[in-house]
Subunit: 68 residues, 2 copies
DNA sequence: GATTAATGTAATATATATCTTACATAATGT
DNA sequence: ACATTATGTAAGATATATATTACATTAATC
């Protein structure tokens, strides 16, 4: 459940709270997704990607899994 | 909530039920996601993509939205 | 070093994804 | 026509994503 959200978020200069507001979700939700402890919905993933200016693959697609 | 699941599923020659079994979910769930009536979890999206041999962007990322 | 901003985290409540069961329809083969 | 396979869909139950509230910690700023 790892992802690259934090990397792109700080890259754009947003705080967790700012990103949360923009995608209409709670700061805690953003924090837990970044921490890899949530399994977010596709719609939320898409909203986050659009806000950060990247695609789903760039944040959420891991080309090589550990067990490959 | 549109996506290209059906296209890739029939391309690989899977039935809804076969794909459902492989990603450990119900046939109905697959059907509703294909119909654009469900907002699936990221984990399920990833499992589907791996089973169909494509990435998240290829199935779930729409480059140009209607409202752009 | 005190204050503020940003983040981590936990408990309970609520919304919703998904399951289960069931039936209906469409397509295909015999 | 009949049987079979694939798909659509609905009602109620369950699991889980997310909200809410609250407090702790860390980093930055004064």
């Amino acid at each position: 459940m790892k992802n690259r959200m934090r990397m792109y978020r700080v890259g754009v200069g947003f705080t967790q709270e700012e990103l949360a507001f923009k995608v209409d979700v709670t700061r805690q939700t953003i924090g837990l997704i970044e921490a890899g402890k949530y399994n977010p919905s596709l719609n939320l993933c898409i909203a986050i990607c659009k806000t950060l200016g990247v695609t789903l693959d760039e944040i959420f697609w891991m080309e090589d899994d550990q067990d490959v």
